[in-house]
């Protein structure tokens, strides 16, 4: 990952707002991060954007969040729609403006300014607006005000100089009252807003953009100006979904992720063994390979294994429909539907062309928010390159990984590659584990090989394995590496058979030898017994001879003594005479 010094600086300063400048949180996910805490408190912020860019919604989120979460009631002044219409429009986003008004947390002043109805003749001022606004602010104790869209006033009154003067007065007046305000403005052709109000109205300018490229639309937000505060200057993608405004909590450029020692097995024993027990929790794995190498199946295994442990899993599909994947996984013995039914697995599928890269990213961020998965499998990330350049896709995948890693989610992404392993995608530095599946063609058949190209923090196996998909699942088989190269499939089977034969021959020879030796041993043991017997017999004989000799000697001594006694020999008895 390339992190420039500027990015790091941005990331650091974002987190530390300058002293003295108080901020009012917007409650919009992501925006508060970019601005280092929210909009300048007690100042006016201009939100500029073309029609449908989401200006009104941003303003409303600011008010609703203020009222509900930050104890700051607000006033909405709208010049475009009736109160009923505004209320109806945002009800689908879960904003109940009626309830907020009943609770005294929100006041709505709606003016339908019809340009055809008004004629300006001479000087005027917006005193009634000031009076009503003042009234409303006091009534609800407002700390926040949104004026939507002031550009309408220019068109309606047709006296730009007066309207501009009054808007400046309004901005100063709001600041004087200490309320934090958002003024929305229509995007102009050359300037940020049609009537150039960014020049004088605000301390903070946020531009919303709705761009279409290659027929794919992407919404972006950018903080153009923030007086007295550091802010992220990038364009940040955002999403308007059923849950409102959502700015991507970016490219947090700081490489800080939760780190785990725990291993997550993929559920394929031999592969887990090759990886030293599985993937590290919170790490990112990439599976690349050409078409039909079984990338999705690997992902399916991880999903299944995680769900079996009772973990929540997000499966994002960029190539196939959920039904198709479910069916295909069933064919290798994986029933993923039961995990969906059990509420553990959330499958989300979208055509890559359905929206821009950033939108995909924002959707993913939202899904992470909703599902809170511990494992995420992104299938077919390379397909996202539809209508985008390689670097853009790499950037996108990078941000996706960042997002997931920051949330401590274990990631497995699969990407189609066209044979050449290293150019698969310029994303290898983002992934901790890189598995490559490869088709090898040999003897008229294609077989799959699995390599572990990289596995950070792991003494991983450098072995190639054959990757076999069966009705019962994935099996990894040793391949044969010989002079003819790596043998797989039938060639491997043939080699296995040949080796078995060779082993058989060898075994026979050994057996014969063993039998022979055995026989010898038996014989020698028998011999040993015979010799021992002989030895014993001879020892016994020696003993007998000794005994006899001693007996004879004793007898002859006695005879001699007896004889001497008879002769009256003078030698003392027993003192030893002649022998």
């Amino acid at each position: 990952m390339s992190v420039s010094a500027g990015d790091v600086l941005t990331a650091l300063t974002d987190a530390a707002p300058g002293p003295g400048l108080e901020k009012a949180p917007t409650g919009v996910t992501g925006l508060d991060q970019i601005t280092g805490g929210g909009l300048p408190r007690g100042r006016v912020t201009l939100v500029a954007g073309s029609a449908g860019a989401g200006k009104t919604l941003l303003g409303l989120e600011f008010l609703v969040a203020g009222a509900r979460e930050y104890g700051e009631p607000g006033v909405l002044v709208t010049f475009e729609e009736s109160a009923a219409k505004v209320t109806a429009n945002v009800r689908s986003l879960g904003f109940d403006l009626d309830a907020l008004q009943r609770d005294g947390l929100l006041a709505v002043l709606a003016f339908e300014v019809d340009p055809g109805e008004l004629v300006a003749t001479g000087e005027f001022d917006f005193e009634p607006l000031f009076l009503m606004l003042s009234d409303a602010i006091e009534r609800v104790g407002a700390k926040r005000v949104v004026l939507d869209t002031v550009e309408v006033l220019f068109g309606a009154f047709g006296a730009d100089a007066i309207v501009r003067g009054e808007l400046i007065r309004m901005a100063r007046w709001l600041e004087g009252r200490g309320v934090t305000a958002i003024v929305t403005g229509e995007r102009g052709d050359r300037s940020l807003t049609r009537h150039g109000i960014e020049e004088y109205v605000s301390d903070c300018v946020i531009a919303l953009d709705h761009r279409v490229r290659e027929e794919i639309s992407t919404r972006r937000l950018r903080v153009l100006k923030y007086r007295g505060s550091a802010h992220g200057t990038n364009e940040y993608p955002f999403l308007i979904s059923a849950r409102g405004f959502f700015v991507l909590p970016i490219t947090s450029m700081v490489l800080e992720y939760p780190v785990f020692e725990e291993r997550i097995p993929l559920g394929i024993d031999r592969l887990d063994h090759m990886l030293g027990g599985g993937l590290f929790r919170g790490s990112a794995a990439l599976v690349t390979g050409s078409a039909g190498t079984g990338k999705t199946s690997l992902g399916g295994y991880l999903v299944n294994a995680a769900c079996e442990r009772g973990e929540r899993v997000l499966l994002a599909l960029y190539e196939e429909s959920p039904e198709q994947v479910m069916r295909n996984m069933r064919s290798i013995g994986l029933d993923l539907q039961r995990w969906v039914d059990a509420g553990l697995l959330r499958v989300w599928a979208a055509r890559p062309s359905a929206s821009g890269l950033e939108t995909h990213l924002a959707i993913l961020a939202r899904l992470i928010d909703e599902v809170a998965p511990s494992v995420a499998v992104l299938d077919g990330v390379a397909s996202l390159s539809y209508g985008a350049s390689g670097t853009e896709v790499a950037g996108l995948v990078d941000r996706k990984f960042n997002l997931l890693k920051a949330a401590g989610v274990t990631i497995l992404a699969t990407a189609l590659s066209s044979g050449d392993e290293t150019s698969a995608m310029p994303m290898s530095s983002m992934v901790d584990t890189w598995l490559m599946l490869r088709n090898v063609e040999h003897d008229g058949e294609r077989n799959r090989l699995l390599y572990v190209l990289k596995s950070r923090g792991t003494a991983h196996s450098n072995q190639v394995r054959e990757f076999v998909l069966t009705n019962d699942g994935i099996e990894l088989v040793d391949v044969y590496v010989g002079a003819a190269g790596v043998l797989t499939g039938s060639a491997r089977l043939a080699q296995q058979a040949a080796e078995r034969d060779a082993e058989g021959l060898q075994a026979e020879g050994l057996d014969r030898h063993r039998r022979e030796l055995h026989r010898n041993v038996v014989k020698r043991e028998a011999d040993l017994v015979a010799v021992q017997d002989q030895l014993d017999a001879e020892r016994a004989e020696i003993d007998q001879i000794d005994r006899r000799e001693r007996h004879q000697m004793a007898e002859s001594e006695a005879d001699r003594v007896a004889m001497a006694a008879r002769r009256w020999a003078d030698a003392a008895p027993g003192s030893g005479g002649e022998r």
Binding site: F79, F111, E112, V113, E117, L118, V119, A120, T121, G122, E123, F124, D125, F126, E127, P128, L129, L131, M132, S134, D135, L153, F157, A159, E166
Partner: protein, 113 residues
């Protein structure tokens, strides 16, 4: 069509018809005072006896302007005859005042109106 009234310049006034005008002001600012004066003079000139002017001061009750969607002052609203017309400003531009309240027919079209 020729009608009685003060109109020698083709002012359209029905003897039965009353012009119901409402002028919104805030306090006694110079702009508002000028507007009151300008409106009274124009009406006296063109609608003698056939008009009523109601002056509403929003300082006392800002919400009174809500019904007529009053954002700016001075604003004169022609309640009758229909359709409702709104003029914003101190009414110092007499031509636009007459045109805006349709006290005088537009000059450009030559045929009937």
């Amino acid at each position: 069509m020729s009608r009685p009234g003060s109109g020698d310049d083709g002012t359209v006034t029905d003897p039965e018809e009353t012009w119901d005008l409402r002028l919104y002001v805030t306090g006694r600012s110079p702009k508002c005072l000028r507007a009151i004066e300008n409106l009274r003079r124009a009406c006296a000139e063109h609608l003698a006896g056939h008009y009523s002017i109601e002056i509403v001061d929003l300082v006392e009750n800002p919400s009174l302007g809500a019904a007529d969607q009053i954002l700016a002052v001075p604003t004169v609203v022609r309640k009758l005859p229909a359709p409702i017309r709104k003029l914003v400003g101190d009414l110092s531009d007499t031509d636009r005042l007459l045109l805006g309240l349709e006290l005088r027919p537009p000059e450009v079209p030559r045929h009937d109106r």
